[in-house]
Symmetry: C2
């Protein structure tokens, strides 16, 4: 890993080591599209990536991308008018401010302008990437939005696309999408330089004219940008100090690329950018142990598999709807107990039986029930009885006591767990989860994962746990897919100062800048769809920037 240095802008004396019209910082799901769009406009592009290879967080993801009013919808005659899209997104981003009669629907003007930009540009951006063979796609006609039941959602299915070559389950979409975009970038002449960590901006006369990066051998490389620098360097999931001081929930980390350390928070901030939406993240449950270890292969638990499976707390009580969409489920770990002064759900214990072990095993989407798939099962604990399970869970928690505020199982955990299972089983028999609403909404069934088929059952998310062992368990907490706060950008990606004036030559897209989604996760692909839209807009705006021929000479 290349060490972080000062983010204070450089005044830029001395010649550049390399020069391009547009310099893109980061080679993941935001940087690759930005570089391609800029290149296709005729600009010379240098792309600097901190890691030894391209891909960032997107390569680890399924790479769904959410494209309102996309071409496939249009061809199929599915209507998705702008006004309804704006209502749906506004309702979810700021539910406490949503006002259908307000010109901005209760959002700030900035937020409203951002969601309009998404609607306007997501589809043209996706189409251009497909036409140029950088990201051919498959339409996921049946995938619902995560809040498809809301009255504001007038196009509840049909907005999701996925890279064309992804397998049927779509879980390898990121590898496919990064491969095809990387190939297009190489084919079309983007100058890609990996193992280059951008440390700071070069600013001359108030305009950003380049960057200084450190390469793998520790040398400073000065790269001039005749028109603009576009940051797409990801969020701050892997910077513990930024997480603790900005996010609304005390997460242990998440499944973003390990290089996502908040570089643009520091670099943009040092150039006078305002930070926005710093309190929010794209959230997902994560296995506690991999999160604490900072395991770069960590996958978020996008699907909590199993029907004969439940989550319980340290006392053995069931406390959540285990099939909530991941962004919502993750937040349940951070409920606060105002009498005891603790986060009682900080770590929950997923418990399942042999049925789920056999029929819901998978190595996809971060599922913890891996069975015989060959995936690592180091996180799986096993007991012949609930009493046996208590012993191994207690011992495993003890290993993590120093990072969980001394979390331990309450006395009688196995007995309480037994009672929780009995209650769960009663509910499972009726198919109606009167306690937490499991399986009630479309998205919960979407993420159910494989389960043993039971003809005629109305709620495939629940089935009674067996009265006989073995039983299995794993430790779960809430984490991030990545954060979604950073410098504030205009709808064209221009980073603004404290009076909302663009800082000349400085752009940002993706999880390194502030998202207008606030707390919401509108749908699967609500990360990458808007990111591609903003990459398109930023490249187009950067193309029109005045040329600094004299910079860094």
């Amino acid at each position: 890993m290349i060490r972080r240095e000062s983010a204070a802008p450089s005044a830029g004396a001395g010649p550049a080591d390399a020069t391009a019209d547009v310099v893109v910082v980061g080679g993941g799901g935001g940087g690759l599209p930005a570089a391609l769009f800029a290149r296709w406009l005729g600009d010379e592009v240098i792309l600097l990536e901190k890691a030894p290879e391209l891909g960032g967080t997107a390569k680890k993801a399924a790479f769904w991308y959410w494209i309102p009013n996309n071409r496939s919808m249009q061809e199929a005659g599915i209507e998705d008018p702008e006004e309804d899209f704006l209502h749906y997104t506004a309702r979810l981003s700021r539910p406490q401010q949503y006002d259908p009669d307000s010109p901005t629907l209760g959002l700030s003007e900035w937020e409203h302008a951002q969601i309009r930009a998404i609607y306007e540009s997501a589809s043209p951006a996706a189409e251009l990437l497909a036409e140029r063979d950088a990201l051919p796609y498959r339409w996921c006609e049946a995938v619902p939005d995560y809040w498809s039941e809301l009255p504001q959602d007038k196009a509840p299915t049909g907005r999701v696309l996925v890279p064309e070559g992804a397998r049927a389950t779509m879980s390898d979409g990121g590898q496919v999408g990064i491969r095809t975009m990387s190939a297009a970038a190489e084919r079309d002449g983007v100058d890609i330089r990996t193992s280059h960590r951008v440390q700071r901006l070069v600013i001359e006369g108030g305009a950003v004219v380049g960057v200084e990066a450190t390469n793998a051998t520790g040398e400073t490389v000065r790269v001039a940008a005749r028109k603009a620098v576009i940051f797409a360097s990801g969020g701050f999931t892997h910077d513990p100090e930024l997480r603790a001081n900005f996010l609304s929930a005390p997460v242990y980390g998440g499944c973003a690329a390990n290089t996502n350390e908040g570089d643009f928070v520091r670099i943009g901030g040092a150039a006078g950018a305002q930070l926005r939406n710093m309190n929010q993240a794209w959230m997902c449950p994560v296995p506690l142990e991999a999160a604490v270890a900072g395991d770069p292969s960590l996958s978020g638990m996008f699907s909590v598999a199993g029907d004969s499976m439940l989550f319980v707390d340290k006392t053995g009580r069931r406390v959540v709807n285990e099939k909530l969409p991941y962004n919502e489920l993750a937040q349940m770990f951070f409920q606060w107990d105002p009498l005891r002064g603790e986060y009682p759900n900080l770590v929950l214990i997923q418990v399942w039986d042999q049925r789920s072990q056999e029929h819901s095993a998978s190595d996809e989407y971060g599922r913890l029930i891996v069975g015989d798939t060959g995936a690592s099962d180091a996180h799986v604990l096993r007991g012949e009885t609930l009493a046996d399970l208590e012993i191994v869970v207690r011992a495993r928690l003890e290993r993590y006591a120093r990072v969980t505020g001394g979390l331990t199982l309450a006395d009688g955990w196995a007995d309480t767990l037994g009672a929780s299972i009995a209650r769960f089983n009663d509910l499972a028999k009726t198919g109606v989860d009167a306690d937490f609403g499991r399986g009630e909404r479309a998205v919960q069934q979407l993420f159910n994962g494989d389960v043993r088929e039971e003809p005629g059952r109305t709620n495939p998310t629940m089935w009674p746990l067996s009265g006989e062992g073995p039983y299995y368990a794993a430790l779960v907490t809430g984490g991030t897919l990545d954060t979604k706060g950073g410098p504030k950008a205009t709808p064209d990606g221009q980073i603004v100062d404290d009076l909302d004036q663009p800082i000349p030559g400085l752009y940002g897209v993706g999880n390194c800048v502030a998202s207008p989604s606030a707390r919401a996760y509108w749908a699967g692909g609500a990360t990458l769809g808007p990111i591609i839209a903003f990459a398109y807009r930023a490249a187009n705006a950067a193309h029109l920037e005045p040329v600094h021929e004299e910079a860094l000479t």
Copy 2:
């Protein structure tokens, strides 16, 4: 109100309009002590206050100040060793990281250094203020810490001081403390200039050498600092955009001085400061209507009075322990419903009967039951029956629908309320709140307010509501006393850059900088006690700064 201008630092060409050794920005509970400490060291001091008069948030407060191991405790033989103090504060600030065996107790090194500084300097600072007759105090021997039952609290009472001349209930402590400190500042030659809004720093050669302010007539006033500028300008309670983009809860505002608009977030940020603890605030419930109106006289509800009183939600259900300490109670309004996509407790309805109306009325500590005290009762709704009450509550909520996401009462609210009252009454008769633990902890009884005495009852926080009207109601939400994030400062108040290096000449204390308390509200006065400690340390460090004789000449 003087308009905000660009926060970008000025290069400082041209002469100063005024010069001092130390320039203090803000004349409230942080700025006045900082100015006094600096003056008493022999420095010339100019104090710039944005408002037309001194006082800031502290003037509105009771001005308790929490001083560990204070002189009165020492004289009374109450032990309060540093190590125990550090454990108590660490346990509460970062409960999920607290590790009694770690050298920093699980905190970051910065947080640990900050709480050590509080322990070391709070008492010397308080004593010096008292000795110089700027803030003579009275010891509140019996006041407990807010988490006095925790095993880490080895000095559960005795740390709170209050300005000597405050009335018995202490609610006017802020007016007294600001008056005595202002008088001392005038007496000892602090050059006080009100109606001066500091807009930006003047930076020469990397060092802060002064500020530019705007006065009431719109002129720019340039004030040079030979040694240092100390910001004590308060948090960002009254900037809706900063609140929405940083705080962990979507509050409507709070009871900070209306001038607390996050000036130092912008001014410090533009100078390269790192922001920290931006997600947290000192929280308290607030009356919804005054908060939405931005009423400058708004008081936080530091005490929710009444025994025959309860809070219910929009369905009529009781959902919280109404006597939680204010910082905890305020957070209950922001619980998230992951199935419905809303904050179901965003606005709660306080309901009480004639008994509480007569015996718990007060115009102090933000209580909503004002009775015949002469305080405004515009927020109080009244109905002869619960059904009547539903009609008026429903109508009042309708007024606020555009700022509450369309919040309205559920059908049958009065019936559900009736059932909630019946349950509450059953619990009140036993004195044990099996549902929410009301009255269980010392701090809950501390803030109970006046109630009609009932000989022999064990839980003075509860009494059955009458079966007969009239009934009363008011709308409550969560707010801030003030925020507690901003630029990161060393234990001596020096603002640091992204590599934790002090920015020469720039200091900050109080709610305008990052607090090491994270989410915790350790005790009454945990705001002002540490603020006074850091003001003392900052003044001492600023005194030793190299002198810039040439600045702004």
